[in-house]
Symmetry: C2
Subunit: 359 residues, 2 copies
């Protein structure tokens, strides 16, 4: 199917065209940027919301995602899902049975689920994921859920492209408090302790709340005595009675000025806590709108995206239209033998690219 | 200190110069590529070994690293450590107390420990980490330990730059079997179940071994009946008696041709299992040498590095020597207002870069 025909079919709202467009973008095949440009023009009027869902393997993210889909469908909202999976070189992603089942089970035309392979995508994975979410949004889905495994840098970049990010924890993973201590949980706006019918769930939830500084009482001051009390989302400041600081010490805060991440309990396998989660997502969106952060962050994301797209275009140009790859291959032996460094070779190639760029 | 003086001081083997060189490289300050080129020329003759240590927060990686340091020091080997930490935007990495303690505790001149911040490094973090390891190797450290948190894409790229990677698991983290199922553990050559005095350690170790396909008996065939038996590291093939396949079905395998990752038990806090771990690391290195993979992988790494260095140099040139950033800023409003897409703008800027590159 030509790019032209894909675009026409997208305008006719054909799901098959959406699947083809996503494949085109994933593979960065000829014309993929035209498809994305076409989608971009349809974003502003779509008014969709994006939610990133992150957490360790086994936390129940897929089950939670399925429950959110059902919740939104009951409200008459269409849902697009992008699931980002690490692909093992030796399994080739064969163990992703759950997701495949999820995809084939979805016969509802108002639900579209896509698993993304991470093979070879490396640094560009965050950008490609965001672009696939763009395609879903432009197609008209009202809610876009982006599910990613892991707590790494790339995964956080992926989550950051959503307006709201949910971090899923489970009691038995030991992931909660240790991960918080390692400082890798800062991006979430909503925390969920899933499988909260298991032992240790309440403790984990309390630990996360303490770490997040929501509890301004003795527990919090005991854990982190050097922190100043932060204003709460409801406009009051916490722990004033205990700390002996009068209300005049803190200026009044508008309800929408600060977001304090809630820590929710769910049992996704039984659908428990899903309505609360959806409500928290709505509240966060309302907060972003009221505080002006929605517009501000959209601008930042578009700037970052344009920069990423430019960088990728330059890399492609480097590979396809210049002699960079050929020079790299020629010089490799000298580098391996220690006669030249990667830095000498890179500088030489860059000089040639500059000199030859106008040709 | 000028780059010239840093290079002279490095040649005089001054630790202060090493610290300055690392800072220069981390910040990509003027002259950093000259310092790296200088280091590169000293790599081939150094003959150091690099070991990547990955695992979830709380697995005891730092304790294991400390024990390995002591083990190597007892053998008269010097040790350099690069610890890669995720830095929280709101803590600014303030919770990294353990590492800071570890660094200041090290008064041994034959040990050098450096924590790397991940702030802002994004896609370039793997390259920068490898470059800092280069500086340590060129300085003369015999063993370089690269410790990274997490199971993300970037973290795996970091671990991949080491000759041998160790994956640390703990019984209570739930990280073992779930992570294996998610296919994110494929990079390790040695597995360690740390805190193996805790309940569930033996079970975890067995599960990992089953998943790795080391146990060729009933347990393995039960779990993955579609897998063909793989040859074992000792040159025999496993499970033949059970499967009814005669020895002639598999060609003879040289002892060094295949590496089967061992799954070791340690209690790092008491130093238990450290000698076994060090022995496994030595065996893996010997395997890499004997099989020719050491040379082959070094070549692949240098090719990848040269490409990464070139890409980074091109990005810097784009920012510093062309009008790309200025154009980006000018066009941003049009993108935000939906009048142009990031793809149109990137294409326009790339055209201008090409046209103006020779100037």
């Amino acid at each position: 199917m030509s790019v032209e025909r894909i675009l026409e079919a997208l305008d006719r709202h054909e799901p098959a065209a959406l699947a083809r467009a996503i494949t085109l973008v994933e593979n960065q095949s000829d014309g993929f940027e035209r498809v994305l440009s076409h989608a971009h023009a349809r974003l502003a009027r779509a008014g969709a919301r994006r939610v990133g869902i992150t957490g360790p393997p086994g936390a129940g993210k897929s089950t939670l995602t399925e429950q959110l889909i059902q919740h939104y469908r009951a409200q008459g909202l269409s849902v697009g899902v992008v699931a980002v999976d690490p692909t093992s070189p030796f399994t080739g992603g064969a163990l992703l049975g759950d997701r495949i089942r999820m995809e084939s089970a979805s016969l509802d035309p108002h639900v579209f689920i896509r698993s993304m392979a991470t093979r070879g995508a490396h640094g560009g994975l965050a950008t490609t994921t965001e672009e696939v979410a763009d395609l879903l949004e432009a197609f008209g889905f009202a809610r876009i859920l982006v599910e990613t495994v892991g707590v790494g840098q790339t995964e956080r970049d992926i989550a950051r492209s959503a307006e709201t990010t949910v971090r899923v924890l489970v009691p038995e993973s030991g992931d909660g408090i240790q991960t918080l201590k390692a400082g890798v949980m800062e991006i979430a706006y909503v925390y969920v302790v899933n499988k909260s019918d298991r032992p240790g769930a309440d403790t984990l939830r309390q630990e996360v709340e303490v770490m997040l500084g929501i509890r301004r009482g003795n527990a919090f001051r005991h854990v982190a005595p050097h922190h100043a009390p932060r204003p709460r989302a409801d406009g009051r400041t916490g722990g004033l009675a205990d700390s002996g600081v009068g209300p005049s010490a803190s200026p009044p805060v508008r309800p929408s000025a600060v977001w304090e991440p809630p820590v929710l309990a769910t049992v996704a396998s039984r659908g428990e806590g899903i309505a609360d989660l959806a409500a928290a997502l709505d509240r966060h969106y309302a907060y972003l709108e009221a505080s002006g952060r929605l517009v501000e962050r959209r601008r930042q994301r578009l700037a970052a995206r344009t920069r990423a797209v430019l960088e990728r275009a330059v890399q492609r140009w480097l590979v396809e239209a210049t002699r960079a790859e050929e020079l790299l291959a020629q010089r490799l032996d000298e580098v391996v033998e220690g006669r030249r460094s990667p830095y000498d070779v890179a500088a030489e190639i860059l000089d040639q690219v500059k000199a030859g760029a106008a040709r």
